[in-house]
Amino acid sequence: MIELDGVSFAYRTGEGDAVPALRDLDLSIESGERVAIIGHNGSGKSTLVKLLTAIQYPTEGEARIDGVPVREENQWTIREKVAVVFQDPDDQIVMTRVADDVAFGPENLGLPRDEIAERVALALEALGLESISETPIEDLSPGQKQRVAIAGALAMRPRFLILDEPTSLLPAPLATRLIQTVKDLNRREGMGVLHVTHSMPEAALFDRVIVMDEGRAVMTGTPAGVFRRVDELRDIGLDVPLAASLAQRLRSRGIPLKGDILTDADLREALSALAPGDYPAEASGP
């Protein structure tokens, strides 16, 4: 599991000032948990990713991954436990053909050839890339490149997969499919998934949502619990999925919608469950 005890982090600037990016953050994420981290630009979520991947180290407090403290001397152990996918796949893909890039990480671990081949094959299959395994990277679409980057992370067989805004440059339908794929992977491989995103509909697909603001985790809970706090979220520059906000408006008008409403399908279900007479009879369900 991931544990953060009172972690603070500050970037040092040229003048010797320190700009705080994380302030006294306590957090724990179970193995196999699926968590979305949301927050506006500059809220500290990218810094959190850097600490969890041993790119930066806490200035105060301690972060541990499966009990191993995130410190410089443990960096290679941490990186075997945590794999990360960044926003722009061009900054992450090293090799020039799909299969070769997916193999890059396992090759670095010095695994035997047979095992690399097996990991690469499974990772390619999981992301639906088998048919383009020999294709040069430059011929791929942005969505395919991002899949290659995820396959590369998956082939490391990490305990936690961190997705650092990998969908922000993709069209929404592609992004949703990608997140669905990652959720399936979580179910199959049992690794934890941390998804950092701006997209509220994507965050609604996770088990838990952590909201960051000014270097702190200001809300944490189920998507239903978090997205009920529409006004607080808007105050810190975030949004809620339309279904959640619409449900709240309808409730405030006295329409008794039951249950957690996050997605359009939830809203449809809640509306269809309304007692007969609450809405005209000709509009009965399909």
Binding site: I55, D91, V94, T96, R97
Partner: protein, 268 residues
């Protein structure tokens, strides 16, 4: 708008799936090295003609269109002619007689001959390396290079690291080209006309792009380094490889053929 790839063929890989493309990369690298050595040993025109004929034959086999190759080399040839004219004019070796003379500038038969041979060698070198890259993917090229150079590891040359540096450099070439074209487009839209004016004016405007491109390049290199670390890259030690290269009898036969041909061209 600039479409640099139209005008510079050097460094590109064009997969036509030909026989040449399928030859083992190590064999291709070895054969290319052999041809280059031969070009320095051969010093008569007949030998050059013979050697060139082989390479032209290989290009035909590779199904890389000649027109594409020539247009993509125009810039290089222009530059070469420019250099060679200087070679001729400032020739200082012994001359049996001058065809033309003005101050320290002169044209002599010997000068022409020396420049001609030099030009042929440079063209040959360019032709061979371009053809090697056109027909060999980067992955094969670097894997081949790594295997061929691996004996050097015994004398502590960091072959793995060097090859990876090469991979990354080449990987960024298309990204840089794209970036440069994007910036040129953006600046044109803001009033710097990259598509007007003479060659010098255009070159100067392109020069202005280099600073942002380099800054951007450094930032990207930094991000990539971080990404490589998160993917557990710790330098070449303990790395294993997915791909194994297998050279079969046809590969060796091809190498033997090239060797024999070049020997013949040299000895004739």
């Amino acid at each position: 708008m600039l479409e640099l790839q139209r005008n510079v063929v050097f460094g590109q890989f064009v997969d036509t799936g030909s026989v040449v493309h399928r030859v083992d990369a190590r064999v291709k690298i070895a054969a290319a090295a052999l041809c280059i050595v031969a070009s320095f040993l051969i010093d008569d025109l007949l030998g050059f003609g013979l050697a060139l004929a082989l390479v032209v034959g290989i290009q035909a086999l590779s199904r890389i269109p000649l027109g594409f190759f020539l247009r993509g080399s125009a810039f290089f040839f222009g530059f070469l002619v420019f250099i060679l004219v200087f070679q001729v004019l400032f020739y200082t070796g012994e001359a049996s007689g001058y065809l033309w003379r003005w101050g320290i500038l002169s044209v002599s038969a010997e000068g022409l001959y020396t420049a001609g041979v030099l030009g042929l060698r440079v063209v040959f070198l360019y032709y061979i390396t371009t053809l090697l890259m056109l027909t060999t993917s980067l992955v094969d090229l670097t894997n081949g290079l790594e295997l061929l150079l691996s004996p050097l590891q015994k004398i502590r040359v960091p072959v793995n690291e060097l090859v990876l540096v090469f991979v990354i450099a080449v990987k960024f070439v298309p990204i840089f080209i794209e970036e440069m074209e994007r910036l040129a487009r953006a600046q044109t839209a803001r009033g710097v006309p990259f598509d007007e004016g003479g060659a010098v004016t255009r070159a100067r405007r392109l020069g202005r792009l280099l600073v942002p491109i380099f800054i951007n390049g450094f930032a990207r290199a930094d991000t990539l380094t971080t990404a490589m670390h998160t993917r557990s890259y710790r330098g070449g030690r303990n790395r294993t490889k997915l791909r194994v290269m297998k050279a079969g009898p046809p590969d060796w036969l091809a190498l033997a053929l090239v060797t024999a041909w070049m020997l013949a061209a040299w000895q004739l």
